[in-house]
Structure formats: C-alpha cells, structure tokens
Amino acid sequence: MSAKAQTLIGLLGLAIVAAFLILTPLTLHRYGIYILSEWAVMTIAAIGLNLTLGYAGQVSLAQGAFVGIGAYAAAILTTHGWPLIAALALALVLCFAIGWLLGYPALRVQHHYLAFVTLAFSTLAFLVFRNEFWLTGGTEGIDGVPRPSIFGLSTTPDLRYYYFCLFVLVLAALGALGLVRSPWGRAFLALRENPIRAMSLGVDTRRYILMAFAIGSTLGGLAGVLYAPLVGLVEPPAFALTLSFDLLMMVIVGGSGYFAGPFVGAMVAVLLPEWLRFLETYYLILYALLVMALLIYSPTGLVGIVDRFVVRRRTKAASAARAALSASIERRAS
C-alpha cells in the first residue's frame, strides 16, 4: 500500500472517530454523556502517563495523585470564587513542579524500586487530601464545584461540558503528538531503550527523565482540573492508589508507547464496564477476565495487535520486493 493510500485511510479513520465523538452524545442520556466526559478526562491523564512510562520508560504509580492535585486545586479555587482558568494555571505549575521533584528518585532507582517510590508519593498525597481538613475538607471533600463559562457560555449543561472536555483533550493530544514527534520524543525513546548509549550520544538523560515526569504529571493535573467540575464533588477516595492503577491499566491495555494507546485503553477502562452491565453482578468479573486474556494474548496492548498486523504486512511486502529484485537480477544474468 502506498504512503498516500495509508494517509488517506488514516484521515478517514480519524474523521469517523471525530464524527462518533461529536454526534454520539446527541443521542445519549445524562449518564451516557457523563461516561463519555469521564473517558475524555481520563484519556488526558493516561496520555500523560504514556509519556512518562510508555515513551520515556519511567514507571509511575503516582498519576492518580496528580489528577487529585489538579482536582483539589480546581475545587478549592473555584469554590472561593476564582475562575477555572486560574485553577488551571495553578494546577499546571504545581503538578509540573511536583512531577519534576518526583523525577529525582528516578535518577537513582528504576523499575519496581521506582514504582515503590511513586507509590509512596501517591499514598502521601492521599493522606494530605484526607487529613488536611482546613484545605481539602478532609473525608467530606469539597462539594459544589461549579462548571466554568467559556466566552460567556455556561458549560453547566452536560453536553456542553462534554464538548469542552473533548476540546481540551484534542489540544492535549496535539501537544503530546508534537512532543513525541519532535527530537524530544526521540530522546524519550532512547531513554527507554538504552539510557547508557543515549548518554554517550549527548542525550542529557537526567534532564529528560525530569522533564518526562514533569510533563506527564502536568497532564495528570490538567485531567484533574476537568474532573472536579465534571463530578462536582472532590473527595479523597477518588484519588486513592486505585486511580493510579486504573490509569496504568489504561496505558498498558491500550498499548504502552503507542500514541493511540491511552485513547483505546481509557475506552476499555471507562466504557467497557458500562457495556457489560447487562451481566449485572457478574460484569466486573467478566471485565477482569477479558483484560487478563487480552494481556496474555497481546502484552503490547490493543494497539500492539494492530501494529503487529501492519509490521507483518510490511515484512511480507519487503520480502516479496526482495524476491522480485533477485529474480530480475537472475533473469538479466542469464
């Protein structure tokens, strides 16, 4: 298949997905729109984790904590009369700075040791959310987080807020795409594949590790800022370790290190359980079995299955081209 045909198929696929995301909510009730909005928000957080883990290869079990930091920043400021944009600015700066600091342990420890360091941070953040009553409202959390007005247009109606989340998701995705296609993305991959060789080629691995943590965490914070007005209530259990594991699952199930991975992974994590609800009390059991079966069949996630198919086709085409070339050389020689 030519490059032009591939681009055309890609654009067509993108148009179908865009049409689905724009038109489907028009047919849905409130809960359906809420679930789609949650998908958009969680996808942003998963994109951030995919940058840190999938591209740069740095294990993090703290992404849920950054969603929490973003959500509490939004809840605290907006319930005190500040606009959401101010909360957004604060959350992004805060998450970038804390994410940067969280990157320092990664300069010394890696893999499961790093996972435990980030897990400890996640627990620490949860304890702050739960115990610092004066700031976070303690176990009761913060209720009545308002939805913002965009250019005078209120996003209180669910459909409007969904479109707002979708718009932010598109911006975040474009930003992440620009990053992974830039020399930074190449440096992140080098960091994941072979940090020693990367360093010998001038890649400042220390700086890139810190940036991978900081940028990934910032996207977690951005998701949190959208999450607070979506739910209206911000309370500690929502940002416990379970959320970090959920986000990790989204990245792994979707396809770690693939750009489309978080989109597909968040769909599996957020939408699939809803589609399985007809099974009533058994739906979560089947869901867990499906996820296990998928990871056994394809450890590189759902996008990895597509990638394997594409690579197989390319290899076949290349072999056929080589065989044709050899045959023509032999014909000319004889």
Partner: protein, 247 residues
C-alpha cells in the same frame, strides 16, 4: 602535533582488584591509536573511565589540555568525544535514519528549539549523507533491529561519527563482523579519519584489523601498559609476543 587526549596515571580498583593500574598515554590529533591486550587486561574499563561511565580511583583524563576526569558522558559527547561499545548499542525500534539523527540531535540548537523546531533537528540531509557513506542507503527507513549483525555494526559506528566528533573511541568494532563487512568497516574508518581529520582510539582483538588500521599500538596486560609503538615494533616486541601473541 598536539595531544587531543591525555591519560595520566589512571587507576580503577574494584575492591582489591586493580582493573586499570596506573595507565598513562596520549593520543595526538589525527592519529589512530590501537589498544590491544588479553581478555581482562582492563581495556574496556579504561574506556569507561576516560568516557565518564566509571569514576576512576586515581589519575587524570585531559581533553585538549582540559581536565575532564569524572565528567558525564553526555557532556563529554558535547565536547566532541564519541564512542561505540563492546556490545552492539543501537536503538532497534527506531529506523536507521532516526538512529543517526538521534546520534547528533543534542548538538543542534537548544532544548527548546529541539522541542518546537524541526522534527529531524535539521539533520535529515546529514543523516542521508552518513547513510550513503556507510552504504546503508536501501535500509534508511527500516527499523534498525531488522538489520543483519554486520549492518548493525556499521550503523553503530556511523552513529558515533554523526555528530562530527574530534575524538572517537571504538570498543571492538570488528567483533562478530564477517570478512567482507570488516573490509568495508576498515575502509569507512580510514576514509573518515582522512576526510575529517578525526582522532581514533580503537580497542580490538583482531590483530590484522588493528595492525592495518592503526598508526600506533598500546598493549595492556593486567591493567598496565606493557608496550607502546608502531604496529611493526609491537609485533616484534618479545614481551608482547610472550604475554599476548603467544608465539
């Protein structure tokens, strides 16, 4: 000719074992210096101490007269020092072209221009020239992991040259390479040295490769310099024959 690299009384101890034990030598501009020695003689440890992968226990490393002992590998690379490793170290999932662009991108612009600037960091043409120089034209867009071992060795060497280094340290570049590919690799190294005036330090077990490529040879044994001289002098040195060549 001035010394590009000076190694002064370098020592590296691992517990009670002195892997490198007071090694001193210098490498002059445009020279190809070969380092030979039996397995365990401290060659790769010496490289790792020079290049900041390991902190030396004692001694100094100077680049153009400036002390660089303990400097990080990425900072040394930006000063114009490049290397290959004993084992192949390419990025198998990246294409051949992207491997080469990666090998020099950190020398281009600033960290911000590398984020917001061109995707190839302005290195696309240079990468294509390097691909042609090493005869890998037909493989430019292939994932590096799909190349044969010999082709990967060529790519590994090409990556070390991509940033236009002044000093290149090659650790067993001929290891596992077939004869045809070896001749090609030697030609490329010689051509690179002549065309760009780069200085080389080559660790190698393949005597024929070292003797025909290098202008001077340093022999290591048990972490110490056993002999130093032209390939002919080293080949005729009785101590070397006894300790290393074994005849």
């Amino acid at each position: 000719m001035t010394a590009v690299l000076e190694v002064v009384n370098l020592k590296k101890r691992f517990g009670g074992v002195a892997a490198v034990d007071g090694v001193s030598f210098d490498v002059r501009e445009g020279e190809i210096l070969g380092i030979i020695g039996p397995n365990g003689s401290g060659k790769s440890t010496l490289f790792n101490c020079i290049l900041g992968q390991l902190a030396p226990s004692e001694g100094d490393v100077r680049l153009d007269g400036r002390t660089t002992t303990g400097m990080r590998p990425c900072d040394l690379n930006r000063l114009g020092v490049s290397r290959t490793f004993q084992l192949l170290q390419i990025f198998p999932k990246l294409s051949v072209r992207n491997n080469l662009i990666l090998a020099a991108q950190e020398h281009q612009g600033t960290i911000l221009t590398r984020l917001f600037g061109r995707r190839d960091a302005g290195l696309g043409e240079a990468a294509d020239r390097m691909i042609a120089f090493f005869g890998l034209d037909h493989l430019a867009t292939e994932p590096a992991g799909g190349l044969s071992y010999g082709q990967q060795k060529l790519l590994d060497a090409a990556m070390a040259f991509m940033s236009g280094p002044r000093l290149v340290l090659l650790d067993e570049p001929a290891g596992g390479v077939n004869l045809a590919m070896l001749a090609n690799l030697k030609d490329r190294l010689k051509a690179f040295s002549e065309e760009r005036g780069a200085t080389f330090v080559v660790i190698e077990h393949n005597m024929e490769f070292v003797m025909s490529l290098c202008s001077r040879v340093l022999v290591l044994a048990e972490g110490k310099v056993l002999a130093e001289g032209s390939p002919a002098e080293v080949r005729a040195n009785p101590t070397v024959i006894e300790a290393y060549l074994g005849r």
